[in-house]
Point group: C2
Chain length 336, copies 2
């Protein structure tokens, strides 16, 4: 009988870049199941840049995690005990029960994962939230057309790497930026990007973008914000679409970030900048998952994962995101 | 026989706010008409904020006016002599022949104006470029729905005053900002705005916007940019549309203007900022003019004009735009 649960809770509200001491490992008893409940054992948990916003005090699209609360995040796991008529031990499900080894659920917010589509870890990656973010963000907000130049920042991450691959499938010229030479090689080698550059080496972003996107930028999928994004605004074509997906450059800012005023470029280029949250497309996730799974089977989409073992390493895996340590989806394996 | 033309040419490229000495009045002979040409006498010329961009060196959507060249701008006038089979003396036409008393044309860029729709001066206002900017910008980019809160900056200007009136027709709650108490009274009194404020009196724009738009902002029609626009980004509702029409706050900037980074708000509110140029909708101007003319006849749209007499006063009328001196459309009457 399972009696002990291990959880990672928020110990302190981070100032700027999160540090390990902002998190704490605690042990708690696993509650007994009531009628209509089932017990989940976590296999993988996801760490994503957006979580930085969820542990800030600042008002956002959701309430922040409270001090002492289990850290939020997407999870995939296996039903190990059930008093719920709809769930049987052995079923694999996806949810949002956070950084803990076990969780009790009544089924709310839980979705079955079809392991015939792909391995269960993809439920947190290409077939999960990052995958759906890339799929719907690019196709529905960016609306790429064959022949367009698509530029993706944070291109080697879980979202960006899929954005670039889908844009290639759609017949676009695809260019990406990433934080290390290893990632740049991965983008142009493994993933078929037409060009990529290591942003940390670039002094003049506008000049670099002119070099790698000589016909200008039609779709910009923005995962980073900040000075690179400022430069993109100077390189967009008439009718460009800027998909505002993430602004990781600013997530750890301790003062409101400032930069050049950008709206004038939108007038001159009759262009659009549009932000979105993947939840907007929740009603169409099945469609997106089936399409991406199909591309994986066809060999058109590759899904790279960086996996760290052990719940206790989740904080450092999360912090590593802001140092650009992951290639593709960053996961923590909690149990095999 | 007409032999003398008076023109206003660009004398110097303005630094910051334009001054009278950046323009010069010159006298030139009126060329003889060749076969296929006609002579136009200017009745009204238009001065608009966008012209500031046209006399800057900076690359924009059109080539800048050269030093010594006749100043650009929309014009309405009357055919006084013709060697063109398609145009007869007495016909009223609209074009873009700039700040001069006479112009020779071969018909290119010239459109007949139907004076049964409305007085000829409206060809440069509600039925002209500012009117079409308001009509298509609000309806096609802003997509207002009944019940939406629409906030318009520069609301007493040629574009803004029509935007607000159309938004009222569409069943929206309409709020505007303007530069003087006289204009604010005009907006809430004459034009039926639900609320308006004098931005120059406001210390905290975000607090003011909360007060006048307590249910948040669904559509923002931005004529000004700068700090007021920054504050609007903090007050938008989920799914908001920001119509980026003008950025008059920045047109006279001598250094690249900086401000808070705004894109994050677009993510949180799943919102869109879109720039446009009225020329995008050129193929639909007749539709827009007929609709606005119809609203004028129904009494649903009022068109206010501020008219200055004499070509020689065009520079000061133009400069006055940046001091917020005009209510509604600013015109220069060149001849009766």
């Amino acid at each position: 009988m399972i009696v002990k649960n291990r959880q990672i809770v928020l110990a302190a509200r981070p100032e700027g870049l999160p540090k390990p001491s902002d998190f704490r490992l605690v042990e708690t008893p696993v509650p007994e199941l009531a009628e209509g409940q089932f017990l989940l054992k976590t296999n993988y948990l996801s760490v994503d840049p957006y979580m930085r916003g969820r542990i800030s005090e600042a008002k956002s699209y959701a309430e922040p995690v409270a001090i002492g609360e289990v850290m939020v995040g997407g999870t995939v796991g296996t039903v190990v005990k059930s008093q719920h008529p709809g769930y049987r031990p052995g079923e694999v499900v996806v949810g949002y029960w956070g950084w803990q080894e076990y969780a009790v659920s009544d089924g709310q917010g839980i979705v079955r994962f079809d392991t015939s589509l792909a391995p269960m870890s993809t439920a947190l990656g290409v077939l999960g939230m990052p995958g759906m973010t890339a799929y719907f963000g690019l196709l529905e907000i960016g609306k790429p057309k064959a022949g367009d130049t698509v530029f993706v920042s944070g291109a080697a991450g879980a979202v960006g790497s899929l954005v670039g691959q889908i844009a290639k499938i759609k017949g676009c010229r695809v260019v990406g930026s990433a934080g290390s030479q290893q990632k740049v090689d991965y983008l142009t080698g493994e993933l078929g990007f037409d060009a990529a550059f290591k942003y940390k080496d670039v002094k003049n972003y506008a000049a670099k973008l002119q070099e790698v996107c000589p016909r200008g930028i039609d779709v910009y999928f923005d995962n980073v914000g900040g000075p690179l994004t400022d430069a993109v605004f100077t390189q967009i074509n008439v009718g460009a679409r800027i998909v505002v997906c993430g602004q990781i450059d600013q997530y750890n800012a301790t003062r409101p970030p400032r930069g050049p005023r950008l709206l004038w470029h939108l007038i001159v280029k009759q262009a659009r900048a549009e932000g979105f949250l993947v939840f907007q497309f929740a009603g169409r996730f099945r469609e997106g998952q089936q399409q991406v799974a199909h591309w994986i089977k066809e060999g058109k989409v590759k899904c790279q994962e960086t996996v760290v073992d052990g719940l206790e390493h989740a904080p450092e895996a999360f912090i590593g995101l802001f140092h650009g340590e992951n290639v593709g989806k960053q996961l923590v394996r909690v149990s095999a």
